[in-house]
Symmetry: C2
Subunit: 569 residues, 2 copies
C-alpha cells in the first residue's frame, strides 16, 4: 500500500470519505464525505472564510449551480470547455485521446482532434481495456447538461465553476460596494465537470467544491494596499522562465519577485501569499508546497499572469490545488457583449480633465438655399468630418460620390472647453480559485504519520486543531454508571461552548486512544476511579501522548483556550 492507499483506507474505515452510491456499485468521479470528512470540510471552508470574507472583506454570495445557456456561451464554456475523446469501437469504453498518446510518447497536450487521431493511427494505439480499434477523436464538452421547464425546456448546464455567478452579478455587486473599486465577492459551492473516465480517485471528481474569489480592480493600478506587510515573505516560486530552462523552484522574496517582473504585480503577489497562509493554516506541509507560474503555452490567451499553488502528493507528484490568475477584463467584456449590459465602473479622475472640444456647425441659412434638395446630405456630410479635415478654411465633402467644396460661409467652427470628471472603465479581475476536495485530500496525506510506540505502529493524523473533526473525546475508563455520569457532565460542558465532542466507551482505553489518534482528535479526556474521589480527570495530548491531571471544574475553558491559543501540553 502506498500513502494514497493508506490514507484512503483510513478515510473509508473511519468515516472521512467513501465512494458514492456504493450499494449500487458506485460511479467514477463521485465521493461522499462521511461524518468526519464533512466536519473537516466545514472547518476548511470556515478558515477560508476567515481569510477571504472576514479579513479581506469580500462578501460571500450564493448563485445557483444550474446556469442558463447564455452564461456559458458568453464565458466560452459551450464552445471551448472540452477534452478530446475517443471511444473503443469494440467495447464502447471512452478515453481521453491525449492521455492515451501521452502514455506512449509525450507532447499530446493541447493538440487538435485531427492531429491526435493521426498520432493514434501512427502509433497503432488500441483500446487499453480490450485491444479494440479506436474511433474518431472528437471534442467532448465537459459540462453536464439539463433543461429547465417542461417539454424541450430551456437549455441549461451545471456550472463548471462558481466564478460566472459573480461576473453575471457584477452590476448588483458594484452597487452593493457603492460603485467603487477595488471590491470582491466570493463563493463556496459545488461545480461540475463531466470528466471522461476519471481514474484518479478523489483528485478528479465530476462533482466537486470550489472556493473562489473574484476581485475587481482598476486595470491601471494593480498595487495592493497591504502588500508591504507581506513583501519580505519568502516563498518557493517556480517561474515560467525557470521551468523552460529546466531549473528548480527557488525561495524568493515577494517584493523581489514583483520588482524583477517575475510576478506580474503586487496584487497577484499578495494573493499568492494569502493562499499559502491559508493552506498552511489548514495543515498543508509548507515543504510540500510550491507556486508554479503558467508557461506561455498553458496560460489562457487573455490572462496577464497565472500561478498555481501545487502540493506534493506521494502518488501523484506535484498537483495543482489553487490557481491565482489575473483574468484581465476578459470575462466582463464577454458578458457585456452577450448581454448588452453595461458592466463598467465610472472612474473619477483625481482632477477633472479639461478638454478642448471643436465642433463643426453647418450654416443652414447658406446651405439650404445653395444646395436645395441636396442640402440635407451636405449637412450630414459636414457633421461627419473632423476639424482636421478643414484645410485653409475649406472643406471637401463626399455626397453620393460627388466631391463638393465648401468655403467658410458654409459652416462655423465652434470651440469650447469641456470638463470631464472621469470615464467608464471595465475592471480587471484577480481570481484565486481553490479546489477544496484536493486540498482536503492533501491535508489528510500531509497529516498522516506512522510512529513506532512500544513495538507497535501508531497511526496518527496530526491535523491542526482548527481542522480536527472531533476536538475532544471523552472516555470513561470503564462502562460503569459511576464513571459515565461525570463523563456526560463533561460532554455537556464542552458542547455548551460549541466544542465538537464525542463520548466513547466502546473497547479498551488503548483501542479508544488509537481510534482517536487515527481521526486526529487533539485531546482525550479520561474519567477513572480517582475522578470519583477528587473530581479530576486526565487530558491526553494527541501528538506528544503526554497526560496531565486537571479538575473537571473549569475544564471547558482550559480546553477552549488550548484549542484556540496555547496547546495544553
Amino acid at each position: 500500500m502506498d500513502l494514497y492507499d493508506k490514507v484512503i483506507e483510513l478515510s473509508k474505515r473511519r468515516g472521512f470519505l467513501w465512494n458514492s452510491f456504493e450499494i449500487y456499485g458506485g460511479a467514477a468521479g463521485f465521493y461522499d464525505y462521511g461524518p468526519y470528512g464533512a466536519t473537516l470540510k466545514r472547518c476548511v471552508e470556515n478558515i477560508w472564510r476567515d481569510f477571504f470574507v472576514v479579513q479581506e472583506g469580500f462578501f460571500e454570495i450564493e448563485s445557483p449551480t444550474i446556469g442558463i445557456e447564455d452564461i456559458f456561451v458568453a464565458s466560452g464554456h459551450v464552445s471551448g470547455f472540452s477534452d478530446p475523446l475517443t471511444e473503443c469501437l469494440k467495447c464502447g469504453e471512452a478515453f481521453r485521446a491525449d492521455h492515451l498518446i501521452n502514455n506512449i510518447v509525450s507532447g499530446a497536450d493541447g493538440l487538435l482532434s485531427d492531429e491526435l487521431e493521426r498520432l493514434i493511427k501512427l502509433h497503432h494505439i488500441r483500446c487499453p481495456e480490450c485491444g479494440g480499434n479506436l474511433d474518431k477523436v472528437y471534442d467532448f464538452n465537459l459540462m453536464f447538461n439539463t433543461s429547465i421547464g417542461s417539454g424541450a425546456g430551456r437549455k441549461a448546464y451545471l456550472r463548471p465553476e462558481t466564478a460566472q455567478g459573480m461576473f453575471v452579478d457584477f452590476q448588483r455587486l458594484l452597487r452593493f460596494y457603492r460603485e467603487k473599486l477595488p471590491f470582491g465577492a466570493t463563493q463556496i459551492g459545488k461545480a461540475y465537470r463531466n470528466e471522461i473516465s476519471p481514474r484518479q480517485g478523489v483528485l478528479r471528481l465530476r462533482e466537486f467544491t470550489q472556493a473562489e474569489a473574484e476581485i475587481f480592480i482598476d486595470p491601471v493600478d494593480k498595487t495592493h494596499p497591504n502588500f508591504k506587510e507581506v513583501a519580505e515573505k519568502k516563498l518557493a516560486l517556480y517561474p515560467a522562465s525557470v521551468q523552460e530552462e529546466g531549473g528548480e523552484p527557488v525561495a524568493m522574496r515577494l517584493d523581489e519577485a514583483v520588482s524583477n517582473g517575475i510576478i506580474a504585480h503586487e496584487c497577484i503577489a499578495y494573493y499568492i501569499n494569502l493562499t499559502c497562509e491559508f493552506l498552511v493554516a489548514c495543515g498543508i506541509d509548507p515543504n510540500r508546497l510550491r507556486l508554479r507560474q503558467h508557461r506561455n503555452d498553458e496560460m489562457a490567451h487573455y490572462a496577464a499572469d497565472c500561478w498555481d499553488a501545487e502540493v506534493y502528493m506521494d502518488r501523484f507528484g506535484w498537483v495543482e490545488v489553487v490557481g491565482i490568475a489575473d483574468r484581465t477584463d476578459y470575462d466582463l467584456k464577454a458578458h457585456m457583449k452577450m448581454s448588452q449590459a453595461q458592466l463598467t465602473v465610472f472612474k473619477e479622475y483625481k482632477t477633472a480633465q479639461k478638454k478642448d472640444v471643436v465642433k463643426i456647425k453647418p450654416n443652414m441659412a447658406y446651405i439650404g438655399p445653395t444646395f436645395k434638395n441636396k442640402a440635407k446630405e451636405v449637412i450630414n456630410a459636414l457633421q461627419n468630418i473632423s476639424p482636421g479635415d478643414i484645410k485653409n478654411g475649406t472643406a471637401i465633402v463626399d455626397v453620393n460620390g460627388e466631391a463638393i467644396t465648401l468655403g467658410s460661409e458654409a459652416f462655423l467652427i465652434e470651440r469650447r472647453v469641456e470638463e470631464i470628471r472621469g470615464e467608464n472603465i471595465v475592471p480587471h479581475v484577480i481570481e484565486p480559485s481553490f479546489g477544496i476536495d484536493r486540498i482536503i485530500y492533501a491535508i489528510l496525506e500531509h497529516s498522516y504519520f506512522e510512529e513506532m510506540v512500544e513495538d507497535e505502529t501508531r497511526v496518527v493524523l496530526k491535523l491542526p486543531m482548527k481542522i480536527a473533526p472531533v476536538k475532544v473525546a471523552v472516555l470513561p475508563l470503564l462502562t460503569r454508571d459511576e464513571l459515565i455520569e461525570p463523563s456526560n457532565r463533561i460532554v455537556s460542558m464542552l458542547k455548551k461552548i460549541g466544542i465538537q465532542t464525542v463520548f466513547d466507551d466502546s473497547g479498551t482505553i488503548g483501542r479508544r486512544y488509537r481510534r482517536n489518534d487515527e481521526i486526529g482528535t487533539p485531546y482525550a479526556v479520561t474519567i477513572d476511579y480517582d475522578t470519583l474521589k477528587d473530581e479530576t480527570v486526565t487530558i491526553r495530548d494527541r501528538d506528544t501522548m503526554k497526560q496531565v491531571r486537571v479538575s473537571i471544574k473549569g475544564i471547558d475553558l482550559k480546553i477552549s483556550n488550548a484549542l484556540t491559543q496555547v496547546p495544553l501540553l
Copy 2:
C-alpha cells in the same frame, strides 16, 4: 406594496436576494443570495448545526447532488415524483392542471390526469395567458435529468431531496455509529425540483437548500431519552382531527399530545419541539408559527405520522417550512429491494432467547441400500419435510410424483435447544426536513418593522444577533483622516475576534444609521471629535436607538459579550 413586495424590494436593494441571471433576463425559480443574504444564510445553517449536529450529535455528511438512476427508482421518485401538466396548444405555455382547476373550483388536489382533463373540459378552462385551448394532461416528472459520461452516458438526476444520500450510506453510517441504534445523520445542501412555471417568487424555487436529519430508531421503541425535558412545553398544534372538524389550532402540552395519541410518539414530539426552538432562535415570530398534522388524505401511505411546521406569511398565509415525519422502514426497505444490500441492524435481545430446534436426519445406511439409484432423491425429499409432517413415526415423501412411505428406520429426529442472541431488524426513520430558503424569507418578513421616528418612517430588520449579516458598523462622523484612523483600529480589533464588521463613511451619519437599520446591524459604533480627546466612541443600539459612550479600549470584548450574552443597551 404588500409586505412581500416590501421585503423583496429591501432584499434586492440592500443585497440580500435578487433574481438569478438578471442580465440575461432571469429564469423563474432561481434566486441568488447577495452578500448579506448569503451571510445570513450561513448563520441560519450554523444555528441548525448547533441544534442538530453539536447538540443532538447527528454528524453531517455530504453526498453528491447528482445521483444515479437506481437511487431514484428505489426511492419512488422516477415513477411518482410528478405534477400534472397541461400545455397551451396556441402559445405553448405550461401550467399545473390542478392549479388551473383550483382557481375555479376547489378539490383538484391529488386527482389523476384523466380526471383533471375531464374537469378542464367541463369548466371550459382555457390558457390564462392567451386564451388558447389546453392540451392533454400528463404527469411531468419534477427531477432535473442529466447523464454521466460520454455518448448516451449513464442516466442521472439532480437529487430532489438530500435524504436519499443518507439512506444509501446506511451501512457506512451504521458502522460509524458502532452498529447501535439510535443514530442519525444530517445533510445541508442543494436539492432540485423542476417546477412547472413557478410563480411564487422565493417560496417556490427550482434550486433550493435543504437541511435534513435522518434519525434511525428501533421500530418498537419510539421513546426519546430527553423527552422529559420538553414534555411540559406548550405548542400551537393543529391535529388532523381538528382540521377535519373545521377547528382551530390549540396550545397543547407535548406530553398530553403524546398520551392522547395526537402526536404518534415521543420521538416525533421531541423533534417538533426542537424544530420550534430552532425557528424561534432564527427569528421566526412564535405567534406566527404552528404545527399542522398531515391529514390522512395527504400523508404518504408509508408514514406513521407527519407534522409540518407552518409559518404565517402576509401574502401567502400559512406556509410549510419544515416537515417532521416518521417514515417507518419504507426507504431502507426500498433500497434493500433494489440494491440487494442488507440494510439492517443486529438487535441484541436483553436476554438471549432459547429456541427448540427439531431436525430430521436421514439414515444413510438404510436409505442407500434400500432405494439404490433413487436414494439421493429420497434423502432430498426427507430433508425438505418438517417434523410436523411425521405422523406415528412415519413420513410420506414425494419422489418424482411417487408417494414413498418411510418408517422410523429411515430417519432420526434430532432435537436441540439453540440460543438466539438477537435478530436483524430494519430501523424506522424519523425525518425532520427543513426548507432553508423559505425559512430565510420568513425570518426577513418577521423581522421587518416600520416605525415612526420624528415624523419619518424608520425601516428596521430586528434580526436576532446571531442571524444579522453584519454585527457591527463602524462609522466615522466625517470622512477625515483623523477620524478614519481610530475607525480602522476598531474594525481591526473586531475582525480579529471574528466579528463581522463593516466600515462605512459614505453619506450623512443619519443615512448610515438608516442603512444599517435596514440590514439589521445590531450595533453601530460612531467615531467623532471627542474620540480624539478621550479615546471614547458611541455605540448605538439598533432596536432602542439608544446610545452609550464607551472607551475604545476593551470595546471588542464588550461587543462580543453583548452579541452573545447580554444586550448592551
